[in-house]
């Protein structure tokens, strides 16, 4: 057992550092109830509940809407929260804000999720390729990543929308092809260190193929971090999508998304502040949820990581 780290973070680690044997061969230590309890805390429970709620709203949203999100009733404009049968009030065209918020959730979630998956695939592949070995591939990928990151994303997005036009697909592609840098960087950093471990050397010496090493040793090694970034990045994409829609270069006008709702609320800020509150609250809630989920996964994998002794 190595004895050189003198600032361990908890009693178990200290006991280990100081060389106290914790009986690693206790056969019951892998799965038991106390382990499960140790892995959950209030934060994780809250994150889980919020996340499940969001998913239910996104999937079964159509059944939960009380009105048609597109159909307004001009006689019932600017209804306050809870008035005239509107759960969260109505907007300047008499459309139900609750139903629009749910529709916006579906739109935003679908957009962020698709873009996130594209980000994940591109970032992870490039990160793994760059990490595997030194050479021109690594140089090109790293230079490309740096270049992409130094471009102002908003300008790129505006250019794309001007050329391709509004809509779900252009928006998803803009986000999907433009925002993978964080995945690439994290995967590259972690994979590089895994590629230097002795078990990867041993596999190379034994003649294990490059792909078997990549998918057998390296990818599983970065998996925990990928989950964490996926959750955090999801929150970032939700905001980005709303921001682009707010600026009028995201979702097409009229489509009920949070960004569009925010944009519409601007003119009626004093008259009907709930028009702002509802989409803004929805964004805050969704982003907090995804951040909590990210934290939860991170703390889970940290705890697991400790017992794995990576």
């Amino acid at each position: 057992m190595p004895e050189n780290s003198k600032q361990p973070s908890d009693a178990l680690a200290i006991a280990k550092t100081a060389g106290v044997s914790l009986n690693p061969l206790d056969p019951t230590s892998r799965f038991n109830a106390s382990k499960l309890k140790q892995f959950t805390n209030t934060e994780i429970v809250i994150a889980f509940i919020l996340f499940v709620t969001l998913v239910i709203l996104a999937v079964f949203g159509s059944f939960l809407q009380t009105h048609d999100p597109m159909q307004g009733d001009l006689l019932k404009r600017f209804a306050k929260v809870g008035e005239k049968g509107y759960l969260l009030g109505s907007d300047h065209l008499g459309r139900d804000l609750w139903s629009r918020a749910v529709a916006g959730l579906q739109w935003s979630m679908a957009c962020a999720l698709t873009a996130n998956v594209i980000n994940l695939l591109i970032g992870t592949s490039l990160g793994l390729m760059a990490a595997e070995k030194e050479g021109w591939a690594r140089t090109i990928i790293r230079q490309f990543t740096d270049t992409l990151q130094s471009f102002p994303f908003l300008v790129v997005a505006i250019v794309v929308v001007v050329i391709v036009g509004h809509g779900f697909v252009p928006l998803v592609l803009t986000l999907g092809l433009g925002a993978w840098v964080v995945f690439m960087r994290v995967v590259y950093a972690e994979a590089t260190s895994i590629y230097q471990r002795d078990y990867v050397k041993a596999a190379r010496i034994a003649g294990v193929s490059r792909s078997a090493i990549m998918f057998g040793h390296v990818l599983p090694g970065v998996r925990a971090s990928l989950f964490v970034i996926f959750a955090f990045h999801f929150a970032g994409l939700l905001i980005a999508e709303s921001a682009l829609s707010f600026l009028g270069i995201g979702a097409p006008l009229g489509v009920p998304t949070w960004g569009n709702m925010l944009a519409e609320s601007r003119q009626y800020l004093l008259k009907a502040p709930w028009m702002l509150m509802v989409p803004a609250g929805a964004i805050v809630l969704a982003v907090i949820t995804m951040n909590l989920v990210g934290d939860g996964i991170a703390s889970l994998s940290r705890k697991r990581g400790r017992s794995i002794d990576v």
């Binding site: 471990r197 078990y199 034994a206 003649g207 002794d309």
Partner: protein
């Protein structure tokens, strides 16, 4: 020197127990220990990992977080003051003032962004009221006391600009800077080369004598204790099992554990004899170790003999270079030569050891054999064929075992998958076949075959090294490269692994290329020895010949530097 009387004790620990509080468990790290250190005394605390020796050291300065530990009973007093009752501010005065500490790894103990100057000033000015000019004079004197020739340069250097030995000298100079009464040294030389270790230990002893400072030396190395300490405490599982004058304890050990520790040392034993291991019942976590090297014909059948007519492995003028500088186009324009014109040969069933200090090129040489780095010139021949071709057969027959069993096993894989990974190359054996093979390999290396579904972290260091050896054996190799296979292990575990290697060699006529800096281990296991220094083999031959009657200057320096029990008693 006799054990200190109560009055002049610098450190007095009385019936101390210490528990670590885990999430839902309590680990009893110390179970009532009593020890005393008098002024000017050098006292060794010996034990293997898990014995509680480092906990004792850290607790002397109350360096363990109070919320995570509990002290059911006992007292620790430094110079008559009970440190358990001091608050943090008072402790600050004790730490670095009356008591200072030297850690194992000087790179992490020194602040990398501050010069030596600032770090020494920090300690000196905190505990003494002197002017910066005087502090500088004092620092330079302390550094030159540590036999640092260019004290001026070291004083103005950053830690990364200094070598490991130089950094440790700086640490010791800092430890002595405030005229402490007690220095706690936790494995101060474990991270250093043998020749550097010898210098550092001598300096530590010399300075302690000159300044009448008491030293508490925490170590696992009995030879170091024998050479350096007046008295010794032997710790085992949180208790002191034996204490007394070094000469008595090591010369006539009373407790079974001390005897077992001494017997586990390869030093002074007949070469290739099986070492006594500390009885399995005495070591925690050894339950899964079955009887050593059992039979299982399915695995055994694959080992094919080559014969001793010609060398199994030969290096002819092998040279390894690393690029040092690149031109604009990324081409290397100057090189650092790591291995220079090495000629060696190894016959089947024999062991060739390569001895040398860090940076001598021994690991680069090993890496070139398995194809991790290319040869710049020369040739490596295996069974008469050039190894560069690395056809599948040679790749299978030459396997490697790494030094650090933590990093050589994928923490996410169950051990059956780890041990059989080389078998999956180019083939897809069924899961059951692989598990069956893994169980056989477990028996070969002395592990419980029922443990194949466990993950590496569930095994101890020695068991992990067994797993790594099992993985290497899975493809029926003829030549095993062993890169410091025991240097990360405790003495008793080292003995078990050495025994296992000897058993396997006898049974399957394996050849070993054994890379090590530990002369005692090499003497025990090797038939032939090659001493490497700055990339070159400076001396080679029969191990008995080279290690007892060295002819090259460097070999002699190396042999003299190794702390041995024998020499300690002769002195």
């Amino acid at each position: 020197m006799t054990p200190a009387s109560n009055t002049d004790a610098v450190l007095k620990i009385d019936n101390l127990a210490l528990h670590f509080l885990g999430q839902d468990s309590i680990v009893e790290a110390l179970k009532g220990i009593t020890m005393e250190i008098a002024a000017g005394e050098v006292v060794g605390v010996v034990g293997e990992s898990g014995s509680g020796k480092s906990v004792t050291a850290l607790n002397t300065l109350r360096l363990l977080p109070r919320t995570k530990t509990r002290i059911p009973h006992g007292t620790v007093s430094v110079l008559g003051r009970d440190v358990m009752t001091l608050n943090e501010a008072e402790l600050q005065k004790v730490r670095g003032g009356d008591v200072s500490m030297i850690f194992q790894e000087p790179m992490t103990a020194l602040n990398p962004v501050l010069r030596v100057r600032e770090q020494m000033f920090d300690v000196i000015l905190r505990h003494q009221t002197i002017s910066p000019a005087d502090a500088e004079k004092l620092s330079l004197k302390l550094l030159s006391d540590m036999k640092i020739q260019d004290a001026e340069r070291v004083f103005n250097a950053y830690p990364h600009e200094l070598s490991g030995g130089m950094r440790q000298r700086v640490m010791i100079a800092m430890a002595f800077s405030c005229q402490p009464k007690l220095i706690v040294a936790d494995e101060p030389t474990t991270a250093l080369d043998v020749t550097v270790q010898a210098q550092i230990l001598n300096l530590l002893r010399e300075r302690a004598r000159a300044t009448k400072t008491a030293v508490m030396l925490i170590t696992h190395d009995l030879a170091v204790v024998a050479q350096l300490c007046d008295r010794v405490y032997v710790m085992y599982k949180g208790k002191i099992v034996e204490q007394g004058l070094t000469r008595d304890v090591i010369g006539k050990p009373q407790h079974a554990y001390t005897r077992a520790l001494l017997n586990a040392l390869p030093e002074g034993k007949k070469p290739k004899s099986r070492l006594e291991t500390v009885a399995a019942s005495m070591i925690e976590g050894q339950a899964a170790v079955a009887a050593p090297v059992a039979q299982r014909t399915t695995v055994q059948a694959g080992f094919k003999l080559y014969g001793r007519a010609t060398p199994l492995f030969e290096a002819v003028g092998a040279t390894v270079r690393y690029p040092k500088k690149y031109n604009l186009l990324g081409r290397a324009i100057s090189y650092q030569t790591a291995v220079n014109q090495v000629n060696l040969s190894l016959y089947e069933g024999q062991t060739l050891a390569i001895v040398g200090e860090s940076g001598c090129g021994k690991t680069s040489f090993a890496n070139s054999i398995v194809g991790l780095v290319p040869l710049a010139s020369g040739e490596l021949r295996y069974k008469g064929k050039n190894l560069r071709d690395h056809d599948e057969l040679t790749r299978r027959e030459v396997q490697i075992v790494f030094q650090d069993p933590q990093s050589s096993l994928d923490p996410r894989w169950p051990i059956w998958r780890i041990m059989t990974e080389p078998l999956t190359v180019g083939k897809r054996p069924s899961r059951n076949e692989l598990r069956e093979t893994a169980a056989g390999l477990c028996e070969m290396v002395g592990l419980d075959p029922n443990a194949i579904d466990r993950l590496p972290h569930e095994f101890s260091g020695g068991q992990r090294q067994r797993i790594a050896i099992g993985r290497a054996l899975s493809v029926h190799p003829r030549l095993l490269l062993l890169d410091e296979p025991t240097s990360a292990l405790d003495v008793s575990v080292q003995a078990q692994i050495l025994n296992l290697l000897l058993d396997l060699q006898e049974k399957y006529q394996l050849s070993y290329l054994f890379i090590s800096h530990n002369v005692a281990v090499v003497r025990h296991i090797a038939d032939h020895v090659a001493v490497m220094y700055m990339g070159q083999v400076v001396e080679s031959g029969e191990s008995e010949q080279v290690l007892t009657r060295p002819t090259h200057e460097y070999t002699r320096t190396l042999m003299d530097a190794v702390p041995t029990l024998e020499r300690a008693f002769a002195a």
